[in-house]
Amino acid sequence: MEPFKLIRAQDNLQAIHSAGIKQSKFIAGGTNMLDLMKLNIETPRQVVDINKLSLYKIEEMPDEGVRIGALVKNSDLSYNPFIKTHFPMLSEALLSGASPQLRNMASTGGNLMQRTRCPYFYNTDFACNKRLPGSGCAAINGYNRMNAVLGTSDQCIATHPSDMCVALAALGAIIYVQGAKGIRTIPFADFHLLPAQTPHLEHNLRQGELITHIEIPALPFAAKSHYLKVRDRASYEFALTSAAVALDVQNGIIRQARIALGGVGTKPWRSLDAEKALIGASATESTYKRAADLALATANPYKDNAFKVELAKRTLVRALKTVEGLS
């Protein structure tokens, strides 16, 4: 690890000011940041500890939306009664991620910002455009079983690893950020970036901008929702594929739907095409299969991860059937 100066910020403005300079990074739970610093993948000269900021609240909005402070721990968010009732897919997604210890440390903001688990990104002996722009991508012709099939480019095929973000993508969350110039909001779909020709650019935050809150707008039918995660071992493992699903079914007809996929995309992957195919159709397995085909229609598999295309479809169909069965 490279030496760094640790600054314990006492309020938002101090944090933003301290992090305004290049080579300065926030640290919240530390579960991703410190991991990467130990491997010299992140080498900040200044680390701004934001744990003393007052961003620990979960506020229920009068219209049944919710505002979640950026420092709320993944464990607190997952067990929050309001979240469990109104947005069960978010609770399930959080509980499927990492371990209880890590969830006690990991923050909402940090989870949003966590970096890929691509093995070549993690190993500084290999070429990686995300870690070292222009060095190449060892995964495209390497062992790419865990890599993405959607949203890839010829520069990077890394998956976004977060479970929480898949649920937030489906729920259409809004991210509140504060910077030296004030507060702005970013729709979830615009927060993470596709790799394209610049895989080292992963999100829409500017230097020094602090995530303060995440808002989930009211979505009554998300009370019937589900997150299904498929992985190599039963727990404490990243997704091979996952699906976050909410359905509003009335008299056998799907009125509203939300669909997002994990483990397959270079960013948390909401599928508007799949949602469109569901809305107005009858709630049957053939409808679900058609939606799943559409969700994966643009998939571009590589040597070791072609299985993910079929697995993702089956994951989505199973999740849809589970939600249909909830009443």
């Binding site: 030496p3 579960t31 680390v47 007052s54 620990y56 979960i58 210890q101 727990s235």
Partner: protein, 212 residues
């Protein structure tokens, strides 16, 4: 505005102690042992290239006041030192084990403000004001913590390397109160890997404490 829940550490401490942790510390005047520690981590011999980097960029020292097993300490540390390394290398509390050093095994589990965390992915400098309990802090004198007793009774270990982390994690799990069935205990203990495979007996030990 509807309901609001505040999950800030100070709020949870308030309900626990009736006074904030920060207030409590200032009452104490942050007394306690003060250690001045060697500024640099020892680098492995032969890592000469990295050694030069370090010579170029001097270590930064962080001062942190925290309570470890009931004793308030002020530590002056290289800012890079993790809570795990501070416990083991600086304070001689070697009960907490280092397995992977990357959050992947749970051997380093300790309780921070009553919650189980991985000390390997926590900077010591981020623990300002925290109350840390390690495996050494669970027993009351000669009297073992009920979870330690239960691990002994049910043979919840073989080589014992993962055991301090398992026990601290199990104490955290019982306090969290979310594990009712065997399956839930297994799922919520999945952050602790046991290479010897003592899992069944660990579940039995935890159930014994839960039912006591």
């Amino acid at each position: 505005m509807g309901d609001m829940t505040d999950y800030s550490p100070d709020e949870s401490n308030k309900s626990k102690l009736g006074t904030t942790r920060r207030g409590f510390l200032s009452q104490l005047g942050v007394a306690g042992a003060s250690l001045t520690l060697a500024p640099l981590l020892v680098r492995a011999a032969g890592d000469s290239q990295k050694g030069e980097d370090i010579a170029a960029a001097p270590a930064e020292i962080t001062s942190v006041s925290l309570t470890i097993n009931g004793k308030t300490q002020v530590l002056n540390l290289d800012s890079r030192v993790t809570l795990l390394d501070a416990l083991r290398e600086k304070l001689g509390l070697t009960g907490t084990k280092k397995g992977c050093d990357h959050g992947q095994c749970g051997a380093c589990t300790v309780l921070a403000d009553g919650r189980r965390i991985n000390s390997c992915l926590t900077l010591a400098g981020m623990c300002e004001g925290a109350e840390i309990v390690t495996i050494e802090g669970l027993a009351k004198g000669e009297q073992l913590h009920p979870m330690q007793e239960a691990f002994l009774k049910h043979d919840g270990f073989q080589c014992g390397y993962c055991t301090p982390g398992q026990i601290c994690s199990a104490v955290g799990l019982v306090k969290e109160g979310h594990a009712k069935t065997d399956a839930e205990i297994k799922e919520l203990m999945s952050g602790n890997i046991c290479r010897c495979g003592a899992y069944q007996n660990i579940v039995a030990a935890i159930k014994e404490v839960q039912n006591a």
